[in-house]
């Protein structure tokens, strides 16, 4: 026993098995070098600061002004980004890298740029407004003439009637110019018009409103403007409608003007005289083209400025973000009494102490400070954060474990085993090497897509490799068996082989060397054989994994020096699980090796019901009956063993330790109350026996019931694997082969398409997800509940590399 313990102690340490040793450190930084020191630490990214000012609200902290300035700067940067994207420019992909500016300089620069931009914007906006007005005027002139000419004709016609009454001789034959001249009297008669332009969407309501306001005494003409005009507020192109309203009376005029104003319709006067119209049109057009050139020049100028900003934008943004992070961190520090130093506390991994010290020295040197930065280790009361050094490959598996709960500080990390067991259990449910190859291709090609989901292309890679392996064992390629490893061990009874499916086959040579014999496929006993194989395999895998879990609890107890947990938790648990289900596994293996016909259900059931009875034909080996009785007794003993001693011993230890206050701490050298020393120190005052006992009782009951239900739960490996293979058989036989049976290319193609679709979406996507979830459950529940507390918290170092743009 001792030799084993020695061996275990001398094992080389695994990075991933235990989280990094952490230490609480204190930094005393002179004010003049504080900023530099913090930014160097941010580059290093190995120190997690504790917020020493958590009782203060954000705006009461020391560096609040700087944080505000950074916020203001990032607002400006957002403004630039917005402007750049509005102008349709792309911020340059390869930004110019310049030496870092000072924050103050950057602030001034940003302010200048913003000022410049705003000025340019307002200038161009003014120009744009004038331009819009002129453009609208032009459109109104163009379109309104169309209404005015016939309407003036009409007016003149009335007029003519009048004149006809008076001067009946004056007949017709009037030229256009004469008509134009005669519109004036119409004006005097009270018929007037207002012309303008309005958004197309408002035109209908506008017309209705005019109709109501004038009680129908108006004539409304409209025509689409044809050109889209930019709305200066939203900078969107809007469709507009030119309108002309004819009305009479002064009151109506004021009303209509008010309504125009309310609807945001711009009114433009159109002269009646055609020559005047033409003249104005000409003037407006020339103005317009002038303005257009000015506007274009302005936009070019603005784009140039924006492009030059765009070159630096990425760099500036990251710089501001870093500065903000630095000041946010500085806000977590406390001033010491003299107000000359900042005091900070934080967690760092022990291996990083030298690097941190070096960075701090560099900071002192670079800021030419007189006083160095003091860096020393402190005693911690609370439990340190959990920090695993992972790489691209292990990170995804660590994430899978962390999704359940972050490991308690320094407890055994299930991720070490998850790396292999997770993809393997997945593959047991997803065993088909055709599908496995598809997954593999997916992992190689579509890696970036999965990266978004779980950061886990490596998970997918291993899952697919194991699927290929398990698929070879199950001998399924899209549910079709192949003779890869030589010929089948079975052959027909007679030469014709017509009744192979009904009469059965005979074995004529050595077993098929690897995996399931292809002849099982389609035979009468295919399902019973595969079910029995997969069911037994599931139980073996499950018992193995649960044993691993309990063994890990032993390592945990050793690591935290809790012999109590080893003696009264690990040992009885081990005995209980293995005397029942370990024994079952043994029986399975023996049955496989000997080819015995014994009924294992019968053996297991009667082991409980009548252990003393003779096993009869179900006996697998000599001495099975006494062994069963011994195992049953052991299992019965194990239950009170794990239930009672621990709480009573804890109670005894507690009363021993605190019977005399003065001797309190000395007694605790050997047995520590709890695996976690800190929380024990906090809680030792109120030792509540009933609480501890109930807790232990729940644990024991959970374990005893769990041993049964968890083993049963591993049968999902068989169930999902069965479902997968049956589904793929159905798709292969009932879709692909059925379609292939027809001699029609269209039906064949449709069959092929349906098969491909079903394979891709149902088997490759849905089944992958479900197998993934079940593998996840087996790890989280069945495996990790044996040893994993998962109540730690993650190490979140202050690091520039980890600052993302989520605050934007």
């Amino acid at each position: 026993m001792e030799r084993i313990e020695k061996l275990i102690d001398n094992l080389p340490p695994m990075d991933l098995m235990r989280s990094e040793k952490m230490t609480l450190v204190q930094l005393i930084i002179p004010v003049e070098s504080a900023h530099r020191a913090i930014s160097y630490l941010g580059e290093l990214g190995l120190l997690q600061f504790r917020d020493l000012n958590s009782e203060r609200s954000p705006f009461q902290r020391t560096f609040v002004n700087q944080v505000k300035r950074c916020g203001e700067m990032s607002r400006k940067l957002r403004f630039f980004k917005d402007q750049i994207s509005k102008a349709g420019l792309l911020s340059s992909v390869h930004p110019v890298v310049e030496p870092d500016l000072e924050l103050e300089e950057l602030e001034i620069q940003l302010a200048e740029h913003e000022h410049e931009l705003i000025e340019m914007n307002s200038n161009s906006e003014k120009l744009r407004v004038t331009y819009n007005e002129l453009l609208e005027f032009k459109l109104v002139l163009q379109k309104a003439c169309g209404f005015l000419l016939p309407s003036s004709n009409h007016a003149v016609a009335e007029e003519r009637e009048l004149t006809e009454n008076i001067y009946s001789n004056d007949d017709y034959v009037e030229t256009a110019s004469l008509l134009e001249q005669e519109t004036r009297p119409a004006d005097q008669s009270g018929l007037r018009f207002i012309s303008g332009i309005i958004c197309k969407s408002k035109a209908l309501r506008f017309e209705r409103m005019l109709f109501r306001a004038t009680r129908g005494n108006m004539l409304f003409n409209q025509a689409p403007a044809g050109e889209e005009i930019m709305d200066p507020l939203s900078a969107e192109m809007v469709e507009k409608t030119v309108f002309v309203v004819h009305f009479s009376g002064e009151q109506a005029r004021t009303k209509i003007l008010k309504i125009c104003e309310a609807f945001g319709a711009n009114c433009y006067p159109v002269p009646d005289d055609i020559s005047k119209q033409r003249q104005i049109t000409r003037e407006v057009s020339s103005h317009l083209s002038e303005l257009e050139t000015t506007l274009d020049a302005g936009i070019r100028h603005r784009n140039k400025a924006l492009t030059s900003i765009g070159y630096h934008l990425t760099q500036w943004t990251s710089m501001v973000r870093r500065e903000k992070a630095v000041y946010d961190t500085l806000n977590m520090l406390n001033f010491d009494v003299t107000k000359k130093c900042l005091v900070g506390e934080g967690w760092c991994p022990i291996f990083a102490k030298a690097q941190i010290q070096e960075a701090l020295q560099r900071a002192t040197f670079d800021s030419s400070s007189q006083v160095g930065i003091i860096f020393h280790v402190m005693d911690a009361v609370e439990s340190p954060p959990t920090y695993f050094r992972t790489n691209h490959f292990t990170n995804a598996y660590q994430e899978i474990v962390d999704a359940y709960g972050v490991a308690r500080y320094q407890e055994a990390n299930p991720a070490v085993y998850t790396v292999v067991t997770f993809p393997f259990l997945f593959a047991v449910m997803f065993g088909d090497w055709g599908h496995g190859i598809c997954l593999l291709l997916g992992a190689l090609k579509l890696g970036s897509f999965m990266e978004m989901l779980f950061g886990g292309r490596y998970v997918l890679l291993l899952m697919s490799l194991f699927s290929i392996y398990c698929g070879l064992i199950y001998n399924e390629f899209f549910s079709v068996p192949f003779h890869i490893f030589g010929g089948s061990a079975y052959k027909c009874r007679d030469v014709t082989c017509s009744d192979a499916k009904s009469a059965g086959l005979i074995k004529f040579r050595d077993p098929y060397p690897f995996g399931v014999d292809p002849s099982w496929r389609g035979s009468r006993s295919e399902l019973p054989f595969l079910n029995s194989l997969k069911m037994k395999m599931s139980i073996l895998l499950g018992v193995a994994q649960m044993n691993l879990g309990i063994i890990l609890s032993y390592f945990n107890a050793r690591f935290f020096r809790s012999s109590l947990d080893i003696r009264y938790q690990f040992v009885p648990q081990m005995i209980f699980l293995n005397s029942l289900f370990g024994y079952l596994s043994l029986l399975i293996i023996i049955k496989w090796c000997t080819g015995s016909q014994a009924d294992l259900y019968h053996v297991m059931i009667y082991m409980f019901l009548s252990p003393t009875d003779d096993l009869g034909e179900n006996e697998l080996f000599w001495g099975q009956r006494p062994l069963q009785i011994v195992l049953l007794l052991l299992a019965l003993v194990a239950v009170p063993w794990m239930l009672f001693p621990k709480p009573f011993i804890l109670k005894k230890l507690h009363s021993e330790r605190f019977q005399g206050r003065t001797y309190g701490l000395l007694g605790s050298s050997e047995f520590d109350l709890d695996v976690e020393p800190d929380s024990a120190r906090d809680h030792h005052e109120e030792f509540n026996f009933s609480e501890v006992f109930v807790h232990q009782m729940i644990h024991s009951i959970e374990f005893v019931l769990g041993a049964v239900s968890n083993t049963a739960s591993y049968l999902r490996l068989w169930a999902l694997s069965l479902a997968h293979s049956e589904l793929s058989t159905v798709f292969y036989e009932k879709v692909l082969l059925l379609a292939w049976g027809y001699d029609n290319i269209v039906i064949r193609l449709i069959g092929l398409a349906v098969f491909a679709f079903a394979t891709a979406f149902i088997l490759l996507m849905m089944e992958t997800l479900s197998a993934f979830l079940h593998a996840l459950r087996l790890h989280w529940v069945e495996f990790q509940n044996k040893f994993y507390h998962g109540d730690g918290y993650k190490f979140k170092p202050f690091s520039f590399a980890l600052i993302t743009d989520d605050d934007d």
């Binding site: 203001e72 607002r75 403004f79 309504i259 309310a262």
Partner: protein
């Protein structure tokens, strides 16, 4: 929720219920308000709010902030969320949500009409309007000279039209008329809303009739106090009271004849729910009454909100500066 109401509730209301519950988590907490009390400058407020749900609405405002900007942006958040819910709602919840905006609509109409009467700029008035009570042709209100025109030109298109039919006169608009118009509109609106909620039945009816009755009573008291010493006759005053509520009908008879604030008090103290409000005030005081009623209203709204029943959760306490 009673009986089988809960059984089918989620078919229509489930999504919105989830949204409302989500918004509840976004409300400012007591700690937030404590911190806001400690703020010394408006920038501090912005900084504090940036950590809350209001952050995205304020983050792009340049630094010299104005109180109006903050209020505007925070209201914008409320309005955005309300409009989102309105879009997602199905009948009869959508109608219910529409009803809630009518109150703001009435206020906006009155604001514009009064403003125009005093020759203010329409654009300026529009900015002051509550965004929930906006409708398409609201700017055109300025054109109208009297109530008949107001109705015929603009309001006939709005949901307020049926309420307006009671107060159409050809009189020119003046302050008094406008005030009467506002109260007539409110009376019609509250009665209609009350009827609608009764029609819906169930929990909505119970909760909303309680809230609406309180609102009606509050308005009745306000009308009484404001009309003391004006030329409004008792009968006219009586006509402005809504025909439901705790005070209806006997309380209304008493209120209609009140000549000073203490008589109002005497009339109101007969009703236990209002006794507590009046007991906080000293005799002859009417200034604090508004505040006391407002507090009571907020309390009732909060209780309704806590019950988490459809539609009752839409009045969020907003940032109060």
């Amino acid at each position: 929720m009673y009986g089988f109401e809960a059984m089918t509730f989620n078919i229509h209301g489930g999504y919105l219920e989830a949204i409302v519950r989500g918004h509840r988590a976004g409300l400012l907490t007591a700690t937030d308000y404590n911190n806001l009390c400690q703020c010394e400058t408006l920038d501090d407020i912005k900084m504090h709010l940036s950590a809350t749900e209001y952050g995205p609405y304020l983050q792009n405002e340049p630094s010299p902030l104005h109180t109006t900007t903050i209020v505007e942006k925070c209201t914008l958040k409320l309005v955005d969320e309300y409009k989102h819910m309105l879009c997602q709602a199905t009948e009869p919840l959508s109608t219910f949500l529409e009803y809630i905006t009518y109150g703001h609509m009435i206020d906006n109409v009155v604001l514009i009409v009064t403003g125009t009467l005093h020759e203010r700029d329409v654009q300026e008035l529009l900015e002051k309007c509550h965004p929930l009570g906006m409708f398409d042709s609201i700017a055109t209100l300025a054109v109208a000279q009297n109530m008949r025109e107001l109705y015929r030109l603009v309001l006939v298109d709005t949901p307020l039209a049926p309420y307006f039919s009671e107060c159409i006169t050809s009189e020119d608009l003046d302050d008094m008329n406008i005030e009467i118009m506002r109260n007539t509109l409110y009376k019609a609106y509250l009665e209609d809303f009350y009827k609608f909620c009764q029609k819906l039945g169930g929990a909505t009816a119970e909760i909303m009739s309680d809230l609406l009755a309180f609102e009606a009573d509050r308005r009745a008291v306000n009308i009484t106090i404001n009309s003391i010493g004006t030329e409004l006759t008792r009968d006219d005053r009586r006509k402005l009271y809504s025909n439901f509520g705790l005070l209806y009908p006997y309380g209304h008879e008493e209120l209609a004849v009140c000549e000073d604030i203490d008589q109002v008090r005497g009339a109101m103290e007969k009703y236990p729910p209002y006794q507590s409000i009046f007991s906080k005030l000293s005799y002859g005081e009417s200034q604090m009454l508004d505040k006391a009623f407002y507090e009571e209203e907020v309390k009732r709204l909060c209780l309704a909100f806590e019950q988490q029943i459809k539609g009752a959760g839409d009045k969020e306490p907003d940032v109060d500066l």
